[in-house]
Subunit: 215 residues, 2 copies
């Protein structure tokens, strides 16, 4: 990509990469805060999410600038449409990391998750962080082959979520703890789903194949 | 709106209105299926969601067609960007109605929600249906004044969700039921959040005011 239009597209993509980096850091920090009951860290994550939201507005402005200045061809427009969708998903991933952090603040000084599920949530956090790291690479390199593999990583999040649900009836938690656990597991699972959608958007922008899962 | 470009925008908007109608019908039917334990209705809702997803692809194609054929000014581009975001939110609202329906199928022939929470879920279903109806009007008429009122309706969903959470510790449900209840309440609450986002997008497209809540 070398002409002025494509330089603008590269700059647009750099904003998406920045968003992906930030939401990846946020979910990693949120998991640490969850496992340690660290309210100061949780508060910082909630505050940082504003920066992610601000990036989304910057992306919108950049897109409108870009579209008013240049006549784009269909393949470039696919990329631009993809950028809009990707920014929506990344913004949501930031929200989900924020939700994890907020659950820490809501129950402090008590722990949100019971000791018996710490390993499962550590596994979800690790999988989400790994997915985010891959996502940064996929976006930065427009790596659509890697992008098509993303749902395999996401399967791990789904598997841990299923394991947590299966344990629930036997662990004898109160309703409030059970509710917290189910919601938290869902936040991680949704984080993964959005990452898969972003990856599919990259694949779509590169290949034009719309028959990728949006369910 | 009268020139060919604006006719195309109107057609694009008609697709969004169609999506909004369908997801409104879906959440209404899903609530009935939830309250009645009606698995046949639940299966139909799951199947119908494919049509909502298909509309999203149609909207993408229409947007690319539109942008390749015409030079749009910034205000029209705001509308087009808004249409992309709106279609993402509406597709997600369809998913959430589908999730309610799937929970019916997952627990059948048992009821998903306990009798003591039937009225609360009926209230959430009624609020979600009412919000959807308003949303159809807001989209069809580009009614940004009504759009700015949408978060008031959404407050009711949040209030019922809080009420359900507050009751949980005292109702003595098992962990599985508590988990189901918390997730279902969240599906309705998220449905409302997405409706508010759609309404804000309409307001944004009409007024250009980006300082609307995206949290």
């Amino acid at each position: 990509m070398s002409n002025p239009f494509h330089q603008h597209l590269d700059e647009l993509n750099a904003l998406l990469v920045d968003m992906a980096r930030r939401v990846g850091a946020a979910i990693e920090q949120a998991t640490a805060a969850l496992l340690e009951g660290d309210t100061a860290a949780a508060e910082a994550i909630v505050a940082e999410d504003e920066l992610v939201n601000a990036l989304q507005f910057q992306i919108d402005d950049r897109i409108i600038e870009l579209m008013t200045q240049y006549d784009a061809v269909a393949s470039d427009l696919r990329f631009v449409l993809g950028a809009v969708r990707i920014s929506v998903d990344l913004e949501r991933m930031g929200d989900l990391a924020k939700h994890v952090a907020k659950s820490v603040l809501l129950r402090a000084p008590a722990a949100v998750i019971p000791d018996s599920l710490r390993l499962d949530f550590a596994a979800m956090g690790a999988a989400a962080a790994r997915i985010s790291e891959k996502l940064v690479g996929i976006l930065a390199e427009q790596d659509y082959l890697q992008a098509t593999q993303m749902s395999l990583d996401d399967d791990e999040l789904d598997a841990v979520q299923d394991r947590i649900h299966a344990q629930l009836p036997n662990l004898g938690y109160g309703s409030e703890t059970a509710g917290d656990v189910v919601l938290l597991a869902r936040f991680y699972e949704r984080f993964g789903d959005h990452a898969v959608r972003v990856a599919h958007q990259v694949a779509y922008a590169v290949t034009g194949d719309i028959h990728l899962d949006r369910s």
